[in-house]
């Protein structure tokens, strides 16, 4: 291409974009960082919730956790309720169908209280009890884990684990795993945009399914490359040079939270022990069904 004088109109447009407000860019508002809990406290509460869910054989515990998680999701400035609900629904509904079919209709055993039967399929009190208990536990687990994941990021997760004196390697792996979610989401969005710019109607499910193998292959390659690069970048920032790095963000913490971090596990263990020892009795799924049947 020949060098030539600058032809025509050198400048067609000028203008100045409005400056982005603090904490926002490209119109996307920044997520408010303030949180009343230290991430370590959140992690402890998460683990306690999971132990209670699986340690106490009553559907009341997961049901109560589900209600509490919904209330927190609705009130948290860092969690979008719609996204949280959609995630829980997407993961819980297939589970409900699977558990309903396997346990609800085909529960094995001889001495069963049959409510309805059609061939080999039978709705039994025992099957429904197991299905209800199992499903509620899984939903509660999904709900609290999604609540933590959506309200956190890599830095918060890392800080929580560092405060709990977990090994640096484990903290890094968990924090990296959490950073993979937005990374993969961005890559899928960009891959779909790139394909729509080549004539693929990516709005159609059939087209997406057809393109999926190629996108996944590209995704795996790009993610592996990027993770490798990120690790190098992190080493350049000094990761691993100090055995005890400081927390990456400043979080609110105080006596009340420290008491909560010690108290919650103690109370959890106590409740589970008392329940398993028969001292504390919460109604089981079959007892609740009996009550419901009158």
């Amino acid at each position: 291409m020949e060098d030539r004088p600058f032809a025509g109109d050198p400048v067609v447009n000028t203008g100045s974009a409005a400056p982005a407000p603090t904490g926002a860019a490209n119109g996307r508002p920044a997520i408010h960082r303030p949180s009343i809990l230290h991430p370590a406290t959140e992690l402890v509460l998460l683990v306690c919730a999971l132990v209670l869910t699986y340690g106490i054989p009553s559907p009341l515990v997961p049901a109560a956790l589900l209600v509490a998680a919904t209330a927190v999701a609705a009130g948290s400035p860092r969690v979008r309720l719609g996204r949280w609900c959609a995630t829980v629904a997407v993961l819980a509904v297939p589970m409900l169908i699977m558990v309903g079919l396997v346990q609800g209709l085909f529960y094995p055993g001889d001495d069963l209280e049959v409510l309805w039967q059609w061939g080999a399929a039978a709705v039994t009190v025992e099957g429904l009890s197991v299905a209800l208990q199992l499903w509620l536990r899984v939903v509660a687990m999904i709900a609290v884990c999604a609540l933590f994941a959506f309200g956190s990021d890599s830095a918060r997760t890392f800080d929580g684990m560092i405060r709990l004196h977990l090994p640096l390697g484990i903290a890094y792996v968990c924090a990296t795993a959490l950073s993979l979610v937005p990374l993969l989401r961005d890559q899928v969005t960009r891959a779909l945009a790139a394909r729509s710019a080549r004539g693929w109607n990516t709005g159609r499910l059939a087209t997406r399914v057809r393109l999926m193998p190629g996108i996944i292959a590209g995704l795996v390659t790009a993610s592996l490359v990027q993770l490798d690069q990120r690790h190098d970048t992190l080493e350049q920032r000094g990761f691993g040079r100090s055995p005890r790095p400081a927390e990456l963000q400043d979080h609110p913490d105080g006596v009340a939270q420290r008491v909560l971090r010690w108290g919650a596990p103690v109370v959890t263990v106590l409740l589970v022990t008392l329940t398993l020892g028969g001292v504390l009795h919460l109604p089981t799924a079959s007892e609740l069904l009996e009550v419901l049947r009158g």
């Binding site: 030539r4 400048v11 203008g15 974009a17 920044a30 890599s154």
Partner: protein
């Protein structure tokens, strides 16, 4: 090692595992305190490997030979803006203070002052995923500098930076050197940064082949070394519009009028007009984060699926209004090539990539074999057009970055569009890569097509474009 040397490479070399040839050989390089040295060479000459060797990042990836001595700590910034952030933080503030925190220190870092060094104080409190490539690069550099390294190793640091940001970076690096720091710069292009170096060395085939003072460098001297020269007095690009110089709308093949993009309540750029007549190139220039890429994406219809973005205005090609069309329908007129070629690539070879890039047109089953043969012929044509025939059997990720971009340009050409939109096509190209790009653009415009490019290379924009749109 004496106190006057921070980095010393004596007959240093490196060969990757499984490779029969040395990527670097017989490298003799010394950098003293306060010195800024640039090493330039064409793609594949070993500039990035030299950076990693100096930064001690090649460790278990191959065999190192010769003597490498470093006094003090080394920090390296790579060439890919996407890969320079750690992924451990979500906010600019946290990323900048990361080295101090990882070192176990909770002492407050004056993040505002650090960012101000690069003129980026406006990024304070911003989410990292909202930054442009150039902004990410500067945030990464700001973060590295808080660690106060003795030696900064920068691989193509000006790659995604606008001219103002480059000048700020020059000042920041000079201050760093004045305070006793040392800088090693590498790249394939001679720019404001390498012009500010104390000495420019050249590398070819993994060996140093000479050096010069920046003031001695001319187009010819750089051309012989395979290096692209981005420097020129481009002040005329910033002049106000010439009255009456606008092309008539009836002549325009691409006619974008009053196009604007909003995200929530923020206007990304004010209503813009972009026009290009058949056979013309239009260049879009502007600072980092001004919305150049967003403009091209809006023209290509790629923001239609983005619920957070709202567009207004008109996009016409050859008189056809495209603004209501989804992106896949606009490909009849427009071929878009994004900044990141990685998003496009998924096949095992460059040729397969092109064969699968586009859907076959609606057809009967009995016509499929014929259509595939036609596609193979088209693919052979665009491979030749973009100079990728010899790389047809290679994995796309094994290609040099500029060749990966050429592969995506080739897939856009398969669409036979009337207008091609190229987002930062010059990034990281050496002289041969620039010539290859210019040849593709020249062939396309010669056949009556129009090209719109975004670029920070004002000299190149002046060289190829009939008109320039400047976004502030």
């Amino acid at each position: 090692m004496d106190d006057t040397v921070v980095l010393s490479l004596a007959r240093a070399g490196f060969a990757f595992h499984g490779s029969e040839t040395q990527t670097l050989a017989e490298i003799d390089l010394r950098i003293g305190p306060g010195e800024m040295i640039a090493v330039l060479g064409p793609q594949g000459s070993g500039t990035s490997t030299l950076c990693r060797l100096a930064a001690g990042l090649l460790g278990d990836r191959g065999a190192v030979s010769g003597a490498i001595t470093v006094r003090g700590s080394v920090a390296m910034l790579g060439d890919d803006p996407e890969a320079q952030l750690t992924g451990m933080t979500s906010y600019v503030d946290d990323e900048v203070s990361l080295p101090a925190r990882l070192a176990g220190s909770t002492r407050p870092v004056d993040i505002g002052a650090v960012l101000d060094t690069f003129g980026m104080q406006r990024l304070l409190g911003r989410r990292l995923d909202t930054l442009s490539g150039g902004e990410r690069q500067l945030v990464a550099l700001a973060s590295l500098m808080t660690g106060e390294p003795a030696l900064l190793v920068l691989d193509q640091p000006a790659l995604s930076l606008d001219p103002d940001a480059r000048m700020l970076l020059v000042r920041a690096l000079r201050s760093f050197c004045d305070a006793g720091g040392s800088v090693l710069l590498t790249g394939h292009q001679h720019d404001d940064l390498t012009a500010a170096a104390d000495r420019v060395a050249f590398v070819r085939g993994g060996r140093l082949v000479g050096s010069a003072r920046p003031a001695e460098l001319t187009d010819e001297a750089l051309g012989v070394r395979g290096v692209w020269n981005t420097l020129s007095d481009a002040a005329h690009l910033l002049a106000p519009p010439l009255p009456g110089a606008h092309v008539n709308a009836s002549e325009a093949l691409l006619d974008v009028r009053g196009l604007s993009v909003r995200r929530a309540t923020t206007e990304i750029f004010p209503p813009l007009d972009v026009r290009a007549a058949p056979g013309e190139v239009a260049a879009i220039v502007g600072p980092n984060g001004s919305g150049k890429s967003t403009l091209l994406r809006a023209v290509a219809g790629l923001l239609e699926v983005d619920a957070t973005a709202g567009t207004a205005g008109s996009v016409r090609v050859g008189g056809t209004e495209l603004v209501r069309m989804p992106a896949h329908q606009r490909t009849r007129w427009l071929g878009w090539v994004g900044q990141d070629p990685g998003a496009q690539l998924s096949a095992a070879t460059a040729q397969t990539e092109l064969e699968r890039a586009l859907p076959l047109p609606p057809h009967r089953r009995r016509d499929r074999a014929r259509l595939r043969e036609e596609r193979a012929t088209d693919v052979a044509g665009v491979l030749a057009q973009t100079g990728l025939v010899e790389q047809a059997a290679e994995h796309p990720y094994d290609l040099a970055p500029a060749q990966r971009k050429d592969l995506v340009i080739a897939s856009a050409l398969l669409l036979r569009p009337e207008v091609v939109l190229l987002d930062e096509p010059t990034l990281g190209r050496d002289l041969a890569g620039m010539r290859r790009l210019e040849r593709v653009i020249r062939d396309f415009t010669a056949s009556g097509g129009a090209v719109v490019v975004t670029t920070h290379d004002l000299r190149w924009a002046a060289r190829i474009a009939a008109r320039v749109v400047r976004i502030r």
